[in-house]
Subunit: 488 residues, 2 copies
Amino acid sequence: MRTPSEVHSRRGFLRGTAALYAAGSNVEAQERATQQATEQAVAPGEVTRTLARYLVAAKPGDLPENVRREGVRTLVNWVGCALGGSKEDAVSNSLAALTPIYPGGKTTILGRREKLDPLHAALVNGISSHVLDFDDTHLKTVIHPAGPVAPALLALAEQQKVTGPELLHALVLGCEVECRIGNAVYPQHYDVGWHITGSVGPFGAAAAAGKLLGLDEQKMLWALGLAASQPVGLREMFGSMTKSFHPGRAAQNGLTAALLASHGFTSSEQAIEAKRGWANVLSTSRKYGEITGQLGQRFETLLNTYKPFACGIVTHPTIDGCLTLRAAYKLKPEQMESVELTVHPLVPELTGKTAPTVGLEGKFSIYYIAAVALITGAAGQSQFTDKLVHDPGVIGLRDKVHLIVDKAMKEDQTRVSIRLTDGRVVTQMVEHAVGSVEKPMTDAALDAKFLDLASVALSPVRARKVLALCRQVETLPDAAAIARAAAA
Amino acid sequence: MRTPSEVHSRRGFLRGTAALYAAGSNVEAQERATQQATEQAVAPGEVTRTLARYLVAAKPGDLPENVRREGVRTLVNWVGCALGGSKEDAVSNSLAALTPIYPGGKTTILGRREKLDPLHAALVNGISSHVLDFDDTHLKTVIHPAGPVAPALLALAEQQKVTGPELLHALVLGCEVECRIGNAVYPQHYDVGWHITGSVGPFGAAAAAGKLLGLDEQKMLWALGLAASQPVGLREMFGSMTKSFHPGRAAQNGLTAALLASHGFTSSEQAIEAKRGWANVLSTSRKYGEITGQLGQRFETLLNTYKPFACGIVTHPTIDGCLTLRAAYKLKPEQMESVELTVHPLVPELTGKTAPTVGLEGKFSIYYIAAVALITGAAGQSQFTDKLVHDPGVIGLRDKVHLIVDKAMKEDQTRVSIRLTDGRVVTQMVEHAVGSVEKPMTDAALDAKFLDLASVALSPVRARKVLALCRQVETLPDAAAIARAAAA
């Protein structure tokens, strides 16, 4: 099934690209840096080497504080998504296929009792983290950065000693590598049909795992070369389990690449930029300055975003408006006589279902979404259950939701007007929903999202423990503690 | 290092394409069938399904006798190459990386004592079989068909009961799928930079493994979909170990695809032909009739060829001429006063080294190659050792070899003239070397090649046993006997 976020993500988000850097702390400097990066001349044949050299030299202490903070948020969001997805069929089916082959596996599958070998654990945790389409997004490229990187790192942390700061550092480096290579080939590479998360993902995983393995420049080059030869993911797979397979397999491929390279398995030293290298074979356009410009100074990690709601982006302004009004007026279901949503035409096009009958269908009904948000005060994964779509109270309010389609509205705008039983009409105009670049999720909201997702697999006490470990990752002597605590 | 065969394979071989079908038993029928296949209209959206339906319905008994015979030859050649490559660094390094992770592995690595899990055993056996560049070639597409298929099948045969006829049938089906998809996108797909063996390989491995797993049409579609999202291999990697990684990883990817699909992991049902499917994303041209035309009637397996000599194709006519004269005149080294080779300009361009100092360099010296062939009566892997390139007898003859470069010669022609000490001059004109489409290797020559390669890893007795098992594959109740016998 094609979710609204998939169909819509690029069109809706790209408009915001110019504003993306404005969300950072030093707006103008970021804009200049990006511009320079794009224009910068790159020595021919030195793209991959420049990247490898940076990766080898980088140290955890080099990361600016705001980058480390965003890295922690990326980790929190990723672990939450992996726990939330851990009971889905895509995960259960892959475990059914793999556990008989790896009966003695010791590597954690988040939210599950089963264990696997490290390489397939990376695969399955990557599947789990993407299956709800709730994971992080680098909006400039629609890459989901953590999916291919974090599972490789956690798997490795259960194989060898990795400290929390080392894990966080490698996670940031992996995301940098993916997003920078993505920037270099976006949008052509995506437009032709590559699921960019899977096609750049092996580079990120190889870089991050290679960092933890302590690869030198030569071996890091080989790891990137092996990654280049293993792109994953066609957009044709969207709507099937194979979509979530992509970040998982990318994680596995990158980890394999780093492991082989660490044992002297040779590869190209110009894997990205060579005539028949990755960028020329997989894209018709290339901006190498995006890859090599301002390494260690400009951080794509700062542009990572997290979805607050477990449904398509197109519905987020509506949810934001409903939640704002509910909180401001302490609205109770019985107070609401009718709900009027003024929206862009894409909203009914993508989410026009009036009477959903199963939880997943609820995500495609703007009527249901508005009602459930107003009644429960949330729109997380827990709001899209079979039980809730049949709840009489929710159905009652759902049937009082009306749409006004207005072409003058922008895709990220919604006006929510609620007529109350006492005759008042309360209205909220939403310009940008929470979770957008302009209005990032707060740490508290991210933690609440984590706990909601984790509740699928863990007790509340355990979920809070895992959250605390993620939040305190920079103090952990052993990063594998996160994985161990996140097992069911 | 770029070997002559790599540089030269397309250019030299493609000229022979028109003649390829002529090598079959029913020349005109094959030519007509190919023509029809290319022109045939294919129902939109039915390419992948047509292939899946064929694969599911196909039965071992359906294969014509000549196809089964060629399948056996493909198996013999592949096992020989895997044994011959089993001591190479690419294999040792990958085992060094993987065996610590899979200490309890039970699946055979041909020619080695180490064992691995089935999926990584497929990877390493695939590496081993390609590392010498001595494996089979579908000349129309320069695909090495067995590399991605056979390792997946042997790994599976050690997991579940697979009879010899089932293994042979699956091998043929896998090769068909690869070569047909390759035909559909060749040469553009190869020209842009895909190592076609790795990019079509997952389809072949998924189809073959899926057949052994008994997938129904729905699951076979999913397996092909999962394969489509995992293409492997950039030509940039030629000259590094990653080149041989490609068929191995393709085998692993296809086997993974089939295993996941067998447990209900869903994927696209139009993975090959969809707008953002494999063929549109990875190639600028497509001939779908090549994939779906005359399934079960036209067999690409009949076009598979095997290299008789362990060096670049450009040297093969010279070797053929030398061996022919040696046998015809029972030549002894001391009888030969000088050797004159009349060759195409590419011969010195690619193999002009006059005094090689290590075994591998010998492959790039036409002087050494002619001398060693005349002295030993062979040009297998055993003729390219460090010891032999320093052998005084070989060096003595090597220095008596002279080239006459003649642009009028075709790339696959050589004239060998040897002046004998008694004043006679014996001459052999070679129009097509043995191993070409026009002059296939005999079964006896293939067996000799096998035994030479296998000697790297197995005792002569054991090597003969493995050869016998391959030759008798159609009588084996348990195909895993081949793998077990081929362990060191």
